[in-house]
Symmetry: C2
Subunit: 197 residues, 2 copies
């Protein structure tokens, strides 16, 4: 089956925007989505890149641009009050959920993106995470314990290293086979690549 690898960091607002579209896009093209959380800070460090908000004029523009994209997609969005935030534990929750039951990674990914960028919840908080995991139909206690499992930690490192090796320098990064696409604004190119595949 055709496949999109969706590399994202929950703390990235453009990753949130892409998360609202990627499943519908895949469905239109008869493809499936692999939700692959990664550590954007490590990607920046490895490539010498900096977060866009480091340039004041860019940070100001980004707020307008994000609102335009949200309106364009017709999705809710508000900038999180805790920024930059550390999403590592939440990323491991997604990976542990997927390991427990295939398909739950996508469910948790969507739920966590909405918790952050719609409801402005603190997704580094265990109570918040447990509630989201339970709502996703999984065992909250077991998944929260699993975030300390070396195998789960390794999956997150592996996603990050794999994305860097393949040329990622920001988030989101989407791959269709060997083709790499950077940014929410390249989703139409991703869809075209799937149709060609």
């Amino acid at each position: 089956m055709k496949r999109i690898e969706f590399f994202f960091d929950l703390s990235s607002p453009y990753s949130y925007l892409a998360s609202t579209q990627v499943e519908a896009l895949a469905a239109r093209a008869g493809a499936e989505v692999a939700w692959r959380p990664f550590v954007l800070g490590a990607v920046f460090k490895a490539t010498g890149n900096t977060m866009p908000a480091a340039v004041a004029a860019k940070a100001k523009y980004m707020l307008t641009d994000l609102a335009r994209w949200a309106a364009h997609y017709g999705v809710p969005f508000r900038f999180i009050s805790r920024f930059p935030m550390n999403a590592i534990k939440a990323h491991r929750v997604i990976l542990a959920g997927e390991r427990a039951v295939a398909g739950k990674g996508a469910v948790l990914g969507r739920a966590l993106f909405d918790a952050l960028w719609v409801d402005d919840l603190d997704v580094s908080d265990d109570t918040v995470l447990r509630a989201l995991v339970t709502a996703a139909g999984l065992d909250g206690e077991a998944i929260l314990r699993a975030v300390e499992d070396p195998e789960v930690k390794g999956l997150l490192r592996e996603n990050t290293d794999d994305a860097i090796r393949r040329g990622a320098f920001g988030a989101p990064t989407l791959c269709v086979g060997d083709e790499l696409y950077c940014g929410n604004d390249r989703l139409p190119f991703v869809e075209a690549a799937l149709r060609r595949a």
Copy 2:
């Protein structure tokens, strides 16, 4: 009449891509285009931004991304052999041409972008510039003399300062009234803004 202010630097490949689309876009929306060359290096310096190619992974990706956009638009494109290049004299030629005959700025802008990104010519060379100006139906000698005219120099500085003041941090930057759009990839938003205007 509705109006797009198109701030660009000839040395910017994404500005070239936008230059191939902006007139048709404006025509569809019943708008006119003000071609406003600016000095991208000065914009970077004023905002603390860096050129995308400064990050190696981004530079590598950009080459692929540019080729994808050219294919998407159906326009020729090849990366220039003189990069980064100084486009200041060519920018002044555009401004002097527009001052001589209204509308010739757009003609010269398109001709110079194609000379660079299609034919890989050296547009800092007087012979090349003179030939392009003559082909645009203007007096080559007079326009080349005008690039040293303080008024023409002032127009280029004014475009650059105006863009920075309004929030630009890269190229191309497009404005519709008070709304500012950064990047060739935001042209659909520019078109939507014109339709709302």
